[in-house]
Amino acid sequence: MLDRPDASFATREDYLRARERTRVLLARGKRRWLRLVLLLVGPGVLVMLGENDGPSMVSYATTGATYGIGFFAPFIILTFMMAFVVQEMTVRLGAATHRGHAELIFQRYGPFWGYFAMADLAFGNVLTLVTEFIAIQAGGLYFGVAPWISVSAGIAVVIASLSLRRYVTWERALMVLALGNLLFVPAALLSHPDGAALVHALATWGPLPETLGAGFVTLILANVGATVTPWMLFFQQSAVVDKGLTRADLTQGRIDTAVGAVLAAIAAIATLVAASSLYAAHVDVSQFADGANFATALRPYIGETGATLFALGIIESGLLAAMTISTSSSYALSEVFNVGHSLNLDFSNGKLFFGAAIGTSVAAGGIVLIPGAPLLAMTLAVNVIATLLMAPALVFLLLLANDREIMGDLVNGRLANLAGGAIVIGISAIGALYGVITVFPGLIGK
């Protein structure tokens, strides 16, 4: 049992977190449940809508345009259920230990495995961050904005968000931006979707595509990578700690994660539905480079307003993810070096924390501006890589969530372990299948 530190040891980070906790305790004391939920939502909504990022929306659009809604509408719901199962564990870990994911791996399993986990995270995050700026640039191009302007503006917004220097302000600002992910819903409605076909797809997982070849497997993998990725584990656990959630807040933490998953699934299916107009019109999207190509191609089918909403949605998806992913890198890196890791820090005490987010954002934006950079191939490859890196990340998550010494009574139950184990096996199997068809492309056809 830890003793309460003397007030003279308290930092700005402690005071700002304590102020928010006071509001939570007051709301709980007065049994104002709605206010309590409103105070405690944030990490779950941000992680789920943040994962509806640039490459994810392009993956959903490519899927809808290539295969229609048949199999993939219910598949997307399944992937978000998987995401909920996984992310709920990070809420429990954060509330039980008050420590971030990276520091728990390092402290419990040592630097050897810790550096491997960090290498996976850093590799995935840098690649993904590049594709977020590709999305920002692509959305800007749709409106005739020069790439250097849109990318610079994106970097400036990331820096501005960090300048807020208060976790709760940062979180609320990002949540307002995150609502922009729902721009894909009116875009889908403007495509005049067949409601009966959507209900049929959700109920029957059909119709199945005529050919189940390499392209289908790649899109399965990309759709999984669009919903569960390593940065989400690191981000949500650290955000839960930064926000100050405790064991008493677990119900609200779960509600937060579930609301995020539902909103993100709605936006993802809306993107699939909007893009399925291209499938119905037999438009070849194989040479599309980014979200802007989809917006332009969709104009005849969803109108100028719909296409504009689609392009704005692509910009939002890239911008929000740029902020959440760069912050997940900051949390993880600062935790590893055991230095300040909170959005409540001031700049002088958070040089590494803020420097990591700003540095990676500037580097990622710079790569996008390199003339001739293979942006299309990168966008498609990123979700696949994220899925492949997910299996080892999930094993660490399961190990930590089963660690009774740190989790106490919040340790994983049998059901959570069964679901988590099934997800690890499923993701590894799809990844292995992808490997086989990459090496032997003729095995199951295109």
Binding site: M1, L2, D3, R4, P5, A7, F9, A10, T11, R12, E13, D14, Y15, A18, R19, R21, T22, V24, L25, T97, H98, R99, E103, Q107, R108, Y109, G110, W113, F116, D120, F123, G244, T246, N338, G340, S342, P374, L376, A377, M378, L380, A381, V384, I385, L388, L389, A391, P392, V395, L399, D403, E405, I406, S428, G431, A432, Y434, G435, T438, V439
Partner: protein
């Protein structure tokens, strides 16, 4: 910005920044878990170059 020390009562002792800087004790991994982690490491080391190969292959096709 003015801080009210009374607010600090809202934090659990383990939530203070100074408390989270103290490392937790190491946990020994069982042989089975160690093997699983090595297996997954091998999986990543094989799978990621395959994606890079597919990436380079796709570039050639552009």
């Amino acid at each position: 910005m003015r801080y009210d020390p009374a607010d600090l009562a809202a934090l659990e002792p383990a939530q203070f920044a100074s408390a989270t800087r103290r490392a937790l004790p190491r946990r020994k991994l069982s042989r089975g878990v160690t093997l699983l982690l090595y297996g997954l490491r091998l999986y990543v080391l094989i799978a990621v170059p395959l994606v890079v190969y597919a990436f380079v292959h796709a570039l050639g096709g552009l």
